[in-house]
């Protein structure tokens, strides 16, 4: 029943949000990836909402979700014809397909190797995400999962889309280490699929495969995917929102983008920042307030869920709890802290171990294209990066420690959207010559 609820709710959301008929295999693949990702998110978010409202969810929650999905599928089964495919879509040579398949095989092998070497996932997996999943699956009382009596490192205030998914899978399949590993693999595959198919549907298979390569061969991607943490799931929801926003032909598609951004908010605290950046960038670049309202309306269910959790259950975030007005002011006026942040950031750009040369190439490309107007996604990424400046500088922890433990995961969250933002510019630039 759980899997049926997940698939039907995802398919129902995609049917409701994308009213035209899928015109080809790439489009069908893209929508299938969306359905699985959004269905998983809806399944986990409804688990949280039901749990906070009525106590431990049973089969009734999944029945309601499955019925809602089936109703949406039935209501929106009459699709309008698809518009003509975009011009200038480049096909891919066979060798590029072979290289992409090889890269996916290498990443999959690395995922398996890392999962075997670290059977409980990365440090944050057992400290935060799978710890919370165990609480949710084992405890009769939801409140114990967020008890302030635990050390702050358990980060009881974090939203719990991933723990909700893992806890439900524990209840269905038993409490095996395979469960969080399989869910991590699913989100890793979805991140690659959303970028590859999202670019390919607009610019053709060549650019889609190149975009997919940029994600799957980022050296830290396979590691972060296997770490069983929320960074790759957040990247997936942020990327879906971004891909839908850039291709939206109706406000209902923007609402679906907003729903995905909302799921990102329910995945990790950073998701709020990314959703806000997407919304602001949309208004800034398009001046389409109604579109922005549609996006916000789509994000509303998960935003409300997050507010409900933060106001009703969650203890204070450690960044807020350990900060005072005096420390914030002191940090803001400490020029050495800002200088240190600049140096740390510059060094990270050339951090070969985790990024290869991808990030350096991205920065150089940004310099090369600096005179072009920013797109919606480029603006959203710029705003997100700009926001991290004061967040890093003003937070109360030691700067080098928090930067070292978070910069790579933030890059992992942003990277798929950076690729989605970059590929159209590359495709357009090369098409003119």
């Amino acid at each position: 029943m759980s899997i049926l609820a997940l698939l039907l709710s995802g398919a129902g959301l995609v049917a409701a949000g994308m009213r035209d008929r899928a015109s080809n295999g790439i489009e069908r693949g893209f929508r299938a990836a969306l359905a699985i990702a959004l269905g998983t998110g809806a399944w986990a978010a409804s688990y949280a909402a039901w749990g906070m409202a009525f106590g431990t969810p049973g089969a009734a929650k999944d029945v309601v979700l499955a019925l809602a999905g089936a109703t949406a599928l039935a209501a929106f089964r009459h699709r309008v014809p698809a518009p003509a495919p975009a011009q200038g879509r480049e096909p891919a040579p066979r060798w590029l397909y072979a290289l992409f398949a090889s890269a996916c095989a290498v990443a999959a092998a690395a995922f398996v190797e890392h999962t075997v070497r670290f059977p409980d996932g990365g440090w944050d997996a057992w400290m935060i995400w799978n710890l919370r999943a165990r609480f949710l699956a084992r405890a009769a009382d939801l409140h114990s999962a967020f008890s302030p009596a635990m050390a702050f490192l358990a980060h009881q205030d974090y939203p719990w889309l991933l723990p909700g998914a893992v806890a439900q899978a524990f209840s269905t399949f038993g409490e095996s280490r395979m469960v969080p590993a399989a869910i991590a693999a699913l989100f890793g595959a979805l991140a690659v699929a959303v970028v590859t198919l999202g670019v390919a549907r607009a610019h053709g298979a060549r650019w889609g495969l190149l975009g997919g390569l940029a994600v799957v061969t980022l050296p830290c991607f396979a590691t972060f995917a296997s770490n069983q943490q929320s960074d790759v799931p957040l990247a997936v929801y942020f990327a879906i929102a971004a891909a839908l926003m850039t291709s939206a032909r109706s406000r209902i598609e923007l609402a679906l983008a907003g729903f995905s951004a909302g799921l990102g908010m329910w995945t990790k605290n950073e998701g709020v920042l990314y959703a806000a950046c997407l919304g602001i960038a949309w208004i800034w670049r398009t001046r389409d307030l109604r579109g922005a309202l549609a996006f916000a309306a789509g994000a509303l269910p998960c935003a409300a869920l997050l507010a409900w959790f933060k106001l009703g259950l969650a203890p204070p975030n450690d960044l807020a709890e350990f900060s005072t007005r005096a420390t914030i002011l002191e940090n803001a006026l400490d020029w050495r802290r800002w200088a240190e942040l600049l140096v740390l950031t510059a060094r990270r750009v050339v951090y070969f171990q985790d990024f290869g040369f991808w990030v350096l190439a991205g920065v150089l490309l940004l310099w090369f294209l600096r005179k072009r107007p920013f797109s919606v996604l480029g603006t959203a990424l710029f705003l997100a990066c700009a926001a991290y400046g004061p967040i890093y500088a003003l937070q109360p922890h030691r700067l080098d420690w928090i930067f070292r433990t978070s910069a790579d995961r933030i890059l992992t969250q942003l990277w798929p959207v950076a690729v989605l933002a970059t590929m159209p510019a590359l495709a357009r630039t090369t098409a003119r010559t």
Binding site: E90, L96, L99, S102, A103, V106, A107, A109, A110, E113, H114, V116, R117, F118, P119, D120, W126, M127, N130, L131, R134, F135, R138, A139, S144, A145, S147, A149, M150, A151, F152, L153, A154, R177, R206, L210, L213, A214, T217, L218, P219, A222, T223, D318, F322, F352, Q353, G356, F357, W358, A361, P396, H397, R398, W401, T405, L426, T429, T430, T433
Partner: protein, 136 residues
């Protein structure tokens, strides 16, 4: 023509990335990073003794519980491993007055001293350096 150049450049970046992944996961880590034992191997038996509510936690190594303390220490890892294993029991760090107290030691020979210092008596010895106690 430029499309081919961009393709070639991205393919080169991808190949470098793939080689880096292969090196890290199949050459460097097998040499330098020992395979971790699952956390539950050491701690799962605690659940039979401490199954619900809250429990105290004491150790011979400190854990990071305040701002500015190093979160990557062995003491922090030991505390968080126990919390992970015994969930949904909430572990109260450094609380030796809780009805049940989990004692987790890096140096097992320090168990008698620590029990004495913290006025604890043994309820169950789970493994070397791992015990459940209660206040005397």
């Amino acid at each position: 023509m430029r499309s081919r150049r961009v393709t070639a450049l991205m393919v080169a970046l991808a190949v470098i990335g793939m080689l880096r992944i292969l090196w890290l996961h199949f050459v460097s880590e097998p040499r330098n990073e020992p395979r971790r034992a699952p956390i539950d191997v050491r701690y799962a038996a605690l659940r039979a003794v401490v199954s619900s509510g809250e429990a105290g936690y004491v150790s011979d190594l400190p854990a990071a519980v305040h701002l500015g303390e190093d979160a990557a220490t062995l003491g922090t890892r030991m505390y968080l491993h126990v919390q992970f294993a015994v969930a949904p029991v909430v572990l109260r760090y450094d609380d030796a007055r809780a009805p049940l107290v989990i004692v987790n030691l890096h140096d097992p020979s320090r168990l008698p001293d620590l029990m004495d210092q913290r006025s604890l008596e043994l309820v169950a010895q789970i493994a070397a350096g791992l015990a459940v106690a209660r206040p005397r």
